[in-house]
Amino acid sequence: MNMHSDVHDHDHPAPAAPPPAPAKPKPGAVVIGFLVLLVGEILVLSNAGVKFPDIQPRNIGTFHVADTLFYVILAVTGFFFFVTQGLLVYFLLRYRARPGGRAVHTHGNHALELAWTFIPGLILFALAVFQTGSWGSMKYTGEFPDEKNAVVIQVFAKQFEWHFRYAGPDGVFGTSDDVTKLADMHIPVDRDIIIKMRTRDVLHSFWLPNVRLKQDLLPGLTIPQWFHVTETGKFEIVCAELCGIGHTTMRAFLIVETEAEFQAWLKQQHETMGDHDPKEDAMWKFWQEGLRK
């Protein structure tokens, strides 16, 4: 309430009574605390063979912007981390009580308040604007690739399994040549993939740690996502939303193959399953149950 008393800052009268003796200061204790922490964790990490840039799972997809933004934010917050922690430690060491000392009597500084409101404000706003486009490109359905040129897969979740369904040779879902697969999601490399996801029971979350894709599934809704992978191999699919007692084991694999391998796999699956009435297909029944409404 006394912002006006800034005028007293420099011309307070000399204190008559010395303040009581201060507690014994421990210079550098904060620094030691942080060092213990830092050394401890670096030791553990290096024992486990993990180096800094490898901390995140390898990104095999095209959503690199998520990683870029991560490191931009790490740089910005890292800067403010060191500035503020540095000032804190410096002030604690520099301004410990001294016999006969007296603190500066000030209630604040208007210019400083404006500076540390508007500068972080602008930085935060810039970060916010910077990312809107990339979020849209990953999540807005209007920005999804064209379904005609993409591989469309139905993803179906139940406690505690992932099922995947492909349209088969005719490219149409709900016909006798549909292919369904439990726990392995085969996709071709370098193609746009569109998945349409549905859950039969509780919430699940479809997470591809190596693609930077995560999306919750909601009963009663079909939720589409898209992604694009540029590397072949076998990667984990994780359920990231607590879904009950078997949540931990609700895992599947993403198997990325070349286009030829993928088509061969599809053909072979189709032959194994043969032509069948889609209404008898357990997966199709689940899918329809999701549409009971």
């Binding site: 990490l45 001294r98 007296r102 308040e113 979020w135 999540k139 009663g220 939303e241 007692i245």
Partner: protein
């Protein structure tokens, strides 16, 4: 009736002040002070006793919550090992190895106990009750009987939580967020008792909030303008408003969930949900699973601020006292609390970026969330400004307050990652989030609570806690909490999802097992370090050093009262002449200038 009587006595003494108030005050004292043990210490209407009751039950529940955390950490470090001591007794059919259902229950109840029975009751119930009347110069709360009720409603809630552990199937196991449909369809009484318990805690919160708001608006001592109130009172005031506005929403949602579980309504379940082989609801049911998340987070996001704002208030009081320097930017500090509270109501959607909510909404919530970092940044800079140019005396309370500032910076900055929607896609539901919430709630709120306890303990009991033990407690806590929680950022970035019972199931997580064990050992040591605190706290109540009414040379009205304050706090309601942060004032020779001290107009120098 008693409520009214208490209040009119308050008003009459306040008015009688300039004359001879002593007789009046004395009179009130003799009429009201309860004599018997039960009326004085158990079913007490005295805000100080109620505050201490809240604090002590929070400390005891913290042991339960902490113990559950140890079970969680043990499972994550050695997922297939037999649980020592308890294993054979709890899991005889599983060779003493903790099963997934028990693990789900352990982390659910760890969070529920810590949030609903420890942090919120300690901050709002404990410190709010104890400090508000003392700091604004009132004799008691506006509604003392309601106040007593707000504590005793906690006991049925305690009963529900305890009973939930004992019923068949165990306690709630669907996460403290209790997302539907899982929480609606899980069998067993555990989840139902959890719901009832949380409703009761919410009821207690609402009664407390009404009381705090009324007390602060109506019962301030003469001269105590709103902008002369200490930051703790401001923070508790804004917190109470948040509680009053948000808790009814949680209560309503919980009642809907209770109906969902017991009456098979369909607020949250559509008709297509199949559990086992049967439909969970009749055809035509059109509940919305997302409705739960919206209602839950509409409360629980403000609740995050309910759990941190009071601690910020304590820190804003402790730093000036020990830096012997006025709080830097008092009004910006007040406005930033108001800003956090206001923005806190329009950011709940950032918990739901990946929930299936319309992604356009995600963009809107991302921008409001980015902006809420701003008032927090203003607070950090002002705390640093308070330390600048000070004469810093170190005490345990001051160490915890400085640690709060340092740790809150980490918790605040890690929030920026999650606010960024494209980054959140990857780190949502991973240990990065777990790290963030623990940096806010443990190294923030709990550290703030420790600071507050060491600081106001002499006021509560007339004796100080042991500083040497306090110093050990501080350093062990500081080191081990960072070892425990900082590493969580790393495994979270590394792709470890939260709420899994066995990281070894995932090949990508094998490389994090050494770090998981490091965190677990640190967590055990962190837990053990709290023995120093417990010993110090309970021993010092009777055996601590007597330190007088104002051991820290502080300015606030609470230090004007005796230690411990007598039944109605003040012999005479004090008159307030200035704000609470006049340290190193040029007007007096001492380096502090209490709010109550009257100075004759000095001749112009």
């Amino acid at each position: 009736m008693e409520i009214l009587a208490g209040r009119s006595a308050q008003v009459s003494t306040a008015h009688a002040l300039p004359g001879t108030p002593h007789a009046v005050a004395h009179d009130v004292h003799h009429h009201d002070e309860p004599r018997g043990f039960w009326r004085k210490y158990v079913f007490s209407r005295d805000h100080k006793i109620i505050g201490i009751q809240f604090l002590v039950s929070s400390i005891l529940w913290a042991l339960v919550g902490g113990g559950l955390a140890m079970l969680v950490r043990y499972k994550l470090a050695w997922p297939q090992a037999q649980l020592p001591l308890l294993g054979d007794w709890l899991f005889p059919e599983n060779n003493g190895v903790m099963d997934a259902q028990f693990y789900n229950m352990a982390f659910t109840m760890h969070a529920s106990v810590m949030i609903f029975l420890v942090i919120i009751p300690a901050l709002a119930g404990g410190f709010g009750n104890y400090l508000i009347p003392l700091m604004i110069g009132a004799r008691d709360m506006a509604f003392p009987t309601l106040n007593m009720l707000s504590y005793w409603v906690m006991w049925p809630a305690f009963g529900c939580f305890i009973a939930s552990f004992l019923v068949e199937g165990g306690s709630a196991a669907t996460g403290w967020t209790a997302y539907t449909p899982l929480s609606a369809v899980e069998l067993g009484w555990g989840q139902t008792l959890w719901v009832i318990g949380v409703i009761l805690v919410g009821w207690s919160s609402i009664m407390g909030a009404v009381n705090y708001i009324t007390t602060i608006i109506k019962l301030r001592a003469p001269g105590m303008g709103l902008f002369r109130m200490p930051m703790s009172v401001w923070a508790l005031f804004i917190t109470a408003i948040l509680q009053l506005l948000a808790t009814p929403v949680l209560g309503s949602a919980m009642i809907c969930l209770l109906a969902e579980r017991t009456l098979h309504t369909s607020f949250f379940l559509p008709d297509s949900v199949v559990i086992g082989d049967a439909y969970a609801r009749h055809a035509g049911a059109d509940g919305q699973p997302l409705l739960w998340q919206h209602l839950f987070w509409f409360y629980s996001h403000p609740a995050v601020y309910i759990m941190i704002l009071p601690a910020m208030g304590f820190v804003s009081d402790i730093l000036p006292t020990f830096a012997r320097k006025p709080l830097f930017g008092y009004r910006p500090m007040v406005y930033s609390i108001c800003g956090i509270a206001g923005l806190g109501f329009i950011v709940w959607g950032h918990h739901m970026f990946q929930s299936g909510m319309n992604p356009y909404l995600g963009t809107a919530f991302m921008i409001s969330t980015m902006m809420i970092a701003l008032p927090s940044a203003v607070k950090v800079f002002n705390w640093l400004g308070t330390l600048w140019g000070g004469q810093i005396r170190f005490s345990t309370a001051m160490r915890f307050a400085c640690a709060f500032v340092s740790m809150f910076i980490i918790g605040g900055l890690s929030g920026v990652f999650m606010a960024a929607t494209p980054v959140d896609i990857q780190i949502h539901d991973t240990y990065f989030i777990v790290a963030h919430i623990h940096y806010v709630l443990f190294t923030g709120s709990i550290v703030g609570i420790f600071g507050g306890l060491y600081y106001w303990f002499p006021k509560m009991f007339g004796r100080a806690m042991d500083e040497r033990l306090g110093k050990w407690h501080f350093w062990l806590t500081f080191v081990f909490m960072n070892c425990t929680f900082f590493a969580m950022h790393i495994v979270g970035m590394g792709g470890m999802q939260r709420r899994i019972a066995d990281p070894m199931v995932y090949e990508g997580l094998h490389r994090w097992m050494p770090l998981n064990r490091f965190m677990t050992v640190s967590a055990f040591l962190l837990f053990l370090s709290q023995i120093l605190f417990l010993w110090n706290f309970f021993k010092s109540i009777r055996g601590g050093e007597r330190v007088g009414n104002n051991p820290w040379d502080a300015n606030g009205l609470e230090w004007h009262a005796t230690s411990p304050p007598w039944f109605e706090n003040f012999q005479v309601i004090p008159t307030v002449h200035r704000g609470p942060y006049e340290y190193a004032s040029p007007e007096v020779a001492e380096d502090f200038l209490p709010q109550t001290r009257e100075i004759e107009k000095a001749p112009a120098s």
